[in-house]
């Protein structure tokens, strides 16, 4: 299971940021060809991002590109220039309204991957839901292709479409966040939260992150490197949580070896969901390697 607590947007026209984004150690990077890049710079940014993908270093980050929307003339060129390099883990697609959009993208990716000799299906899809329609169709979108890795509710565009605006309390997004979580879990994909726009409001970011973590989100998009440690801290389990999770996993392992069903830890029944949650805690703490949690 890949951690996606933070995915950092890097403007596709800023070589300085593109080269150094990984140094801030987010879980993922989003090289942005969409909103960060003016129309007359689309070609230049695509070339720059291509060169950075060819030569750059990204540490242990998951590397994605936000392509231009499928309602524009740029998205195919974006894919054709970047996917064949074999370096991309995924593409983030803006304004996904319905399952058909995902299917179109899936087909285009398969064609390019096949031509480039890359395993078909390797490039994952991260869906930005920036309209009421997109939110309404979340489950269908998330299940439209096995490539879909995450759904991400929008911020500004979405609230505009809802005929409201973003408030510091986030009242207008509360219902949306809850519905996205249910759909994402039902579809078996990650739910990633929208960006927190006030980059100097560390306290506000912490509060919002605690809130979305409690709702069940897996992480948040990030627009400034200084936001990364704050979000990671919220998502990092405490020493006590880790200790308890270790006990539960050990007890469950012992029970399985002895052929027992349920066991007790500190006087409480431990059943399958509790074990699952404990394994998840250890993963978030960076104490479990990918693929070992079901061993």
């Amino acid at each position: 299971m890949r951690l996606r607590r933070t995915m950092l947007y890097l403007p596709g026209n800023n070589p300085n940021m593109l080269m150094r984004g990984h140094l801030f150690a987010p879980d993922g990077l989003i090289l942005d060809l969409e909103d960060a890049v003016a129309v007359r710079e689309k070609d230049a940014a695509r070339i720059l991002v291509r060169d950075v993908l060819k030569r750059g270093e990204f540490g242990s980050c998951e590397v994605t590109v936000r392509i231009n929307g499928l309602d524009t003339e740029y998205w195919q060129e974006d894919l054709e220039a970047l996917v064949p390099l074999g370096r991309l883990d995924g593409v983030r697609v803006p304004k996904v309204d319905d399952a058909a959009t995902v299917k179109r993208l899936d087909e285009a990716l398969s064609e390019i991957e096949e031509k480039a000799g890359i395993p078909v299906g390797r490039t994952k899809i991260f869906c930005l839901l920036e309209t009421a329609k997109g939110i309404f169709n979340t489950y269908d979108i998330a299940t439209a292709s096995p490539r879909v890795a995450a759904v991400i509710p929008g911020g500004e565009d979405l609230t505009a479409d809802l005929r409201t605006n973003r408030s510091p309390e986030g009242t207008e997004l509360e219902g949306i966040r809850k519905s996205v979580i249910v759909a994402a879990r039902a579809a078996g994909v990650d739910a990633l939260d929208t960006v927190f726009p006030r980059i100097t409001d560390d306290e506000g970011l912490k509060r919002e992150t605690e809130f979305i973590k409690q709702l069940g989100f897996d992480g948040k998009s990030v627009i400034h490197p200084n936001q990364i440690p704050i979000i990671h801290e919220v998502f990092t389990p405490t020493e006590q949580e880790i200790e308890r999770a270790r006990k539960i996993v050990a007890a469950a392992k012992e029970a399985a070896e002895r052929g027992l069903g349920a066991v007790q830890v500190d006087g409480r029944m431990v059943d399958a969901p509790v074990v699952k949650r404990a394994l998840f805690t250890l993963t978030r703490a960076g104490l479990l390697e990918e693929g070992t949690q079901h061993a």
């Binding site: 080269m19 150094r20 140094l23 801030f24 400034h224 490197p225 200084n226």
Partner: protein, 516 residues
């Protein structure tokens, strides 16, 4: 041509400077003989006021003549009115061929260019930067400038290398009998540390103030028995340029990342324990390092002994909150520091001699555990350049760079790997300011690069497990890959600047830029 121990070509004699002593190693040169002293003078009870009406009267009374050496301090920084006013007055009085011996010059002093061109100023011993630096670099002065550190300058005075004829001391507050106070008055600047040696060793000392108070002025920075003449100006400086407002910690993510790594290095070092002393300065990175260190000190229950150097409000908070016991302040950077030095007996005003002069019986930097410094360039041998830019032009003074590096047990240079497309690591620095033998580590956004002679630090960082180590070779290779090769600086043979090591030996020379 003879070379010094670092392989730099230093002529035996430099026109306008004299015979050279090549740099032989950080602590190699031992002084001989006695201290130099100023002229004896007597003042009796028939003279109870030293006040004269204006600058010209003060200059006349001081006996200043063409060809003499005048000194100034830089505590009023970019707000200073005194240097320009004194030189303007000298020009009007027909005085020429002066040697200017400031502790530093700032942008506000670019007006001096006209006096250099007209021959009022013949020579500058001190840092030049900005427009004056560019002019000197292009050969605009007949005599090379001499760059000395904050400790090297008082050493030169005390040893007699430099004789100050008249010291003009900008005084935020003074009485008519010459007691000077730095922390009171509308132009207050806090510590007057850089002016102390000048007051003690100049033949004539003139206090220039815009706030005359009844005798005796207190608290006293420089006492009456050093001061010969007091005069007034309507204003000695612009408060907005003298001290900054509240110094804020940077929010630049790259600088914060570098600061975090630097702080982890300090935490991993053997010096991170009760009694730790440090100098971190006022730069963006340094202040953030201090903030991270404070967090770590809090977490591990560590209390420091003293903070040294240029003092900011952030250090004042450390003192108030008990993270350090004392502040030793040679220069106060902001209003909080000025206020604190006036009120808090644990905030001590020290002179440049006390701070950094290698030739006395023990200087403050010798007791320092950790210092964080900057650089424009650093090379494979960990030699550091702070004086010249990548294009070969004079850029910065030395400040306390050499002194704190030589004194501290852990000298850290913190710097982004790239400024624009200019890398901070190179095969060989263009000018050497501070030799690698006194530099322990470089911290960039790519991690911590430790001088291989500090095996103990490498081991400590590895044991700590959270300090990303990167070798100098790796770092230089990365810089080459990202920036490509740079054109070498093209120069004439003529030497326009002499960089002295703090002991008066010549560590490097700077040559005139070829016209493009």
């Amino acid at each position: 041509m003879p070379k010094n121990i670092l392989g730099r070509e230093i002529p035996e004699f430099i026109e306008g400077y004299g015979k050279t002593q090549p740099f032989m190693g950080a602590n190699a040169r031992k002084p001989e003989g006695n201290r130099a002293g100023p002229k004896l003078r007597a003042t009796f009870s028939d003279r109870t006021s030293k006040l004269v009406p204006d600058l010209k009267a003060a200059i006349a009374a001081s006996g200043l003549k063409s060809g003499m050496t005048v000194s100034f301090h830089h505590h009023l920084r970019n707000g200073d009115y005194v240097v320009n006013a004194v030189i303007d007055a000298c020009a009007e009085m027909g005085i020429r061929d002066l040697t200017l011996f400031p502790t530093a010059l700032f942008g506000v002093h670019k007006k001096l260019i006209e006096h250099i061109k007209s021959g009022v100023i013949r020579r500058i011993m001190g840092s030049v930067n900005g427009p004056i630096g560019q002019m000197v670099s292009e050969g605009g002065m007949d005599v090379p400038v001499v760059l000395r550190s904050h400790g090297g300058r008082p050493r030169a005075v005390v040893s007699g290398d430099v004789k100050i004829d008249v010291a003009f001391i900008a005084a935020p507050t003074a009485d008519a009998y010459g007691n000077i106070c730095g922390s009171q008055g509308k132009s207050s600047c806090g510590s007057l540390g850089y002016a102390f040696t000048d007051a003690m060793y100049a033949d004539v000392v003139v206090a220039v103030t815009d706030n005359v108070v009844p005798f005796p002025a207190a608290p006293v920075s420089i006492p009456q028995f050093y001061v010969d003449i007091v005069t007034t100006m309507e204003s000695i400086g612009d408060p907005a340029g003298i001290v900054s407002g509240t110094t804020r910690i940077t929010r630049d993510p790259l600088r914060l990342l570098i600061s975090k790594y630097a702080s982890r290095l300090i935490e991993a070092s053997p010096y991170f324990k009760d009694g730790i002393s440090f100098q971190t300065g006022a730069g963006g990175i340094s202040l953030a390092v201090t903030a991270y260190m404070k967090e770590a000190m809090k977490k591990r229950g560590i209390r420091g002994s003293y903070g040294l150097g240029g003092i900011t409000g952030y250090f004042v908070d450390l003192l108030k909150e008990g993270y350090v016991e004392k502040l030793m302040d040679v220069q106060s950077f902001d209003l909080e520091a000025v206020k604190s030095i006036a009120e808090n007996p644990n905030h001590i005003e020290i002179s440049a001699d006390w701070y950094a002069n290698p030739w006395n019986a023990g200087t403050a930097v010798n007791m320092l555990d950790v210092v964080i410094l900057g650089a424009t360039e650093m090379d494979r041998d960990f030699n550091v350049n702070v004086n010249t830019e990548a294009d070969g032009a004079l850029l910065h003074g030395i400040g306390g760079h050499q002194d704190t590096a030589a004194g501290a047990k852990l000298t850290i240079i913190s710097q982004p790997l790239l400024r624009g497309r200019i890398p901070c690591v190179v095969d060989q620095v263009y000018s050497v300011t501070t030799p690698g033998e006194v530099v322990d580590a470089l911290v960039t956004e790519y991690g911590v690069t430790i001088n291989p002679r500090r095996k103990d630090l490498i081991d400590a960082c590895q044991a700590a497990g959270n300090v990303p180590l990167v070798s100098m070779d790796e770092l230089i290779a990365r810089a080459h890959e990202m920036c490509g090769p740079t054109d070498p600086v093209e120069t004439e043979d003529r030497i326009i600047g002499v960089i002295e090591w703090r002991d008066g030996t010549v560590i490097d020379v700077v040559r005139q830029l070829k016209r493009k």
